[in-house]
Amino acid sequence: MYQLNKVDKKFPGVHALKAVDFTIGRGEIVGLVGENGAGKSTLMKVIYGAYQADGGTVTIDGTTVRFQSPRQAMEHGIGMVFQEQSLITNLTVMENIFLGFESQFVKFGIIDWKAMAAAARHQLSKVKLDIDPAMTTANLSFAQRQLVELAKVLTLEERVDGDLVILLDEPTSVLAREEVELLFKLVRELRTRASFIFVSHRMDEVLELSDRIYVMKDGEVVDVVDHDEADIDTIQHKMVGRDIDKEYYREQKQGPYDTNNVLVSFDKVSLAGRYSDISFDLHAGEVLCLVGTEGSGREPILRTIFGLETPTSGTVSLKGQQIRSFNAQTGVSMGVGYIPRERKVEGIVGGMNVYENMTLSQMQNYASGGVLNISRERELARQWIDRLSIKTPSVFKDCGGLSGGNQQKVVLAKWRSAGSDIILLDHPTRGLDIGAKEDVYDMVREMCDDGAGIILVADTLEEAIGLSHTILVLKDGEAQQVFHGQPGDKPSLYDLVHHMT
């Protein structure tokens, strides 16, 4: 029995965990759901020892414990299967499994590889993976690597006394449906030896696998639901704490788009290894959403339009003009604006102030002969600070110090002030709080009213449905289905998921 009692964790400016109670019994599978920023990752990090709680206690079978590091947590039987693959790909499978714990195979300073291979084979059999432990990890499929990660964590069984608690962080994100089913079957069998904490964005999978589900919102556990009483809608409502209604996505402001004015045209475009045979048209005033799982080809399509990738075949036209040389300068000069997912890394330049960031893509408009007219830059920044109500003490404030929502507004202002009318939004609301998200939705509608076309990769499916006129569903780089949605007549979540996976 593993228990957290009133666990608290604060970061500068964020109360990440507020008196969280959490219990997991022997052999139990517990789901953990919540929106981005709800505190799931912080909670997991406290559990496996990467963070230390500021308040509250952690007990295992009634004994209070305090982990200073993941290694200490492991000694108490707590293991983590990471979302991002943590295996070192140029090592063999067995080296990965026993990484940091090789000493058990060492005799006279030399590793007994045969003994390690035998032990690795035993671990792999636990996850029913029949591969040569001496294989290089890079040669495995993602599904196989995921199982090796699990096998690695299961070595705890031999190393520690007592029960295991294993955290699975988005284990299914790179798996196909049949692989997911195999994984779930395995997890159910393994519950004789371990209990599991299952974190996933895929609500249906959480419902399917978990005995109980913890629902988190704003650093708190807002509900604990038993498997039999769980229902997607109820849980989702608790996650957002409000009804996801049409109001939220500004559906009433969704106007018709201009079918005669094509801004972006893809004609059977392929990029080797990323996507193939993609065709679509983006019109002025239209929000076109690319929907698919991670790796389905959404981002490479955006990057192609911006000019960062050169397609291997097919025709890309911007405003009726066929693009032959793909580079970001061409993209920008054709009016493409790119709002990347990694806002802090690709969106704004931390260390540069508000006006410097706003004019970064259009410096030539604020310079003559290469010399900047800084007072005009400041004037522009002041205008857009007013127009988008950007909260900043002044135009001289380092953008790295602004909140996520205000950083996003600065990035949007950068493109809109330059007159960009093909706007690529990659997860524009990721990590923003609800108010800031609504600001972004307002801006999307305003841009459409101004005649811009928007290609969106949304943070959630609800967002994709709520915002877009047109949805293109992708899977493994191929177009699956196109949906058209009018306000009040939108495709359902199920429609999309059905074609995505």
Partner: protein, 313 residues
């Protein structure tokens, strides 16, 4: 007041403290003539460090600066009899070219700048050896004074080297703060990925940064050659370490993006004060490079932004 708040002010505080310490120990140190001579003496190094600033500001480094300066001492001496004052132009073009090639190798062939500039430094060194026939060359005194006498004279009691250094500093300051190039340079240094996602031609900006570094190294070499009235493939040896120290101690970190040319002025003055204090404290000249080596390590270890450089190899 936290360390983060003090950090930007550390360079000039250090300079002030050093000047006070040496000034108290050595009553001659603070005499205007002495200070003036010290500053004039450091100008070739300062000019090289100015160029190095651009390379480091974008997160790279220019290890060819010393070799390029060496090469231009030879080029200037060899070209002087034929070309007169135009020898300066040849030096500048040579420096620009070597720097641009380093930049090209770094950005197009994706060879890290510490390797590309080291390699190009080798080319510059061999060029110097070939042109000089591996001997020390001397300028004809009349020719030198006719073409480059203005570089080393005195006006209003101030050495002309200081004017040259100041003029270059002002130009570079303008370039850094008031031009689109300077702004792009800052974006590349502080957030290269965001610069790419804003449609900037990052490769071109980097090539220009390395070219500027090469050009300023060449001007440093030219000034040094005129000052010593000759050239040799090893004349500027011992410049590289203090030039890097000047940039880093001045407050432009190896990770780039902050600091700039004004910081390098302060850093160079710190180097100058340390140098002259070593004379006063009778530390052997052979120890100089060791001292700068230690300062370099301490300066980097103490100031580098670990959040930007998590993995060090």
């Amino acid at each position: 007041m936290s360390l983060e708040r003090i950090k930007p002010h550390l360079p000039w505080i250090t300079l002030l403290v050093l000047v006070l310490i040496v000034g108290i120990a050595d009553s001659n140190f603070l005499r205007p003539q002495n200070l003036m001579a010290m500053v004039a003496d450091i100008m070739p190094l300062f000019i090289m460090a100015l160029g190095m600033t651009f390379a480091i500001y974008i997160g790279g480094i220019d290890l060819s600066a010393q070799s390029v300066a060496n090469m231009t001492t030879v080029v200037a001496t060899v070209a002087l009899p034929t070309f007169g004052i135009s020898a300066a132009l040849i030096c500048i073009v040579a420096g620009l070219t070597f720097g641009a090639v380093s930049g090209f190798i770094t950005t197009r062939l994706l060879v890290p700048s510490f390797v590309s500039t080291l390699a190009i430094g080798g080319v510059a060194y061999s060029t110097a050896q070939y042109l000089s026939g591996q001997r020390a060359l001397y300028m004809d005194a009349t020719l030198r004074d006719n073409s480059f006498g203005w570089m080393v004279g005195n006006s209003f009691g101030i050495s002309h080297e200081i004017f040259i250094g100041a003029a270059l500093l002002l130009i570079m300051l303008f370039l850094q703060h008031r031009t689109t190039f300077g702004r792009a340079l800052k974006a590349v240094g502080a957030g290269e990925l965001a610069a790419v996602a804003s449609g900037l031609s990052v490769a071109r900006i980097k090539i220009i940064a390395f070219a500027l570094s090469g050009m300023l190294a060449a001007i440093a070499g030219l000034l040094f050659a005129v000052k010593l009235s000759g050239g040799s493939p090893t004349l500027a040896n011992g410049f590289l370490l203090p030039a890097i120290v000047a940039v880093l101690v001045g407050g432009t970190p190896l990770t780039g993006g902050v600091g700039g040319v004004l910081n390098t002025l302060i850093g160079t003055l710190i180097v100058a004060v340390i140098r002259s204090s070593m004379l006063y404290f009778e530390i052997d000249a052979t120890m100089q490079q060791m001292v700068f080596g230690i300062i370099l390590i301490v300066a980097i270890a103490a100031t580098i932004d670990r959040s930007k450089m998590r993995i060090v190899k």
